[in-house]
Assembly symmetry: C3
Amino acid sequence: MRNLEIRTTKQAEFVVITSKVQRIIEELGIKEGICVVSIPHTTAGITINENADPDVVRDLLYKLDQLVPNHDPNYRHFEGNSAAHLKASLMGNSVSVPVHNGKLALGTWQGIYFCEFDGPRTRKIYIQAISSSI
Amino acid sequence: MRNLEIRTTKQAEFVVITSKVQRIIEELGIKEGICVVSIPHTTAGITINENADPDVVRDLLYKLDQLVPNHDPNYRHFEGNSAAHLKASLMGNSVSVPVHNGKLALGTWQGIYFCEFDGPRTRKIYIQAISSSI
Amino acid sequence: MRNLEIRTTKQAEFVVITSKVQRIIEELGIKEGICVVSIPHTTAGITINENADPDVVRDLLYKLDQLVPNHDPNYRHFEGNSAAHLKASLMGNSVSVPVHNGKLALGTWQGIYFCEFDGPRTRKIYIQAISSSI
């Protein structure tokens, strides 16, 4: 398993990590297989979405905030970041990407995003890739 | 890695692909392992849900639309399909299914669905399966 | 593939299963690899979130209920549990966790949760783990 560390700079932001993950696949020499990208955090997520127009990510953050506002008088968690915990589970804790011909099998416009919902913080990312014999 | 191609026929619909994925598992001869089904698209998702009463999928689409309406004056993405991008991340870009005794380990009522949120379009699906030695 | 069986006791609850999954990893002798935890159900999910303050899970359930209420006159599914089906897809049908040095690579506060949305019921959980040669 390999690790990445990133420093987020906002309370909420999506940070694209595709090229860092691709580099690890190359270092590991995986040609055909599966790559799992996961995080050891509960107020952040991992997702795959468009990495062309930055307004896509802006709109995702806007609508997620509207659905799950940071403040709600009925939240009980003492740290006050329940919204970040729910957004984390909505995006998910990991993505699984096929590796084909030594490359992450992603579409032209896709990027792998670390989703910060309770930053800024220093965050870790785990990358585990497994080769297929087929 | 294997590919599937499907043609969606509506703006939003769930297309069941379970039997096509199962056929690939059989062609690959995987008896025990993990199968990742992913898509190279950012306005569609993959999920597992009930494949018995079609009203389940109808209700999923209805409530997703209510939560994330296609039109919102505050969206900024110029293509006008921000809702599809968010629904894609909410459903997820892939599913990971155990393979056991040569079969996808799914429940009786479960189906693997391609979730179209910005169709109709021709769409690709990637299937990567890995054998376990255990 | 290994199975777990749990008995949920409420209509909606999150049941932590981390230590049960860890025990299976040890029984299988997996030192480095990927573990997929999935369920053969469509009104329940699997997620990873905080396992420290129980109010986090309470707040997740509260907000999920507010977003996707159990009752909506526009639902058509005859069983009346459409909300549980949508919550299942929002949380996801599986989690994929790296295994490193014989341990699930989770953060200090993370737990793997079975998410019951239509209980109480007896539920099954599938665990499939694959070793990496790297």
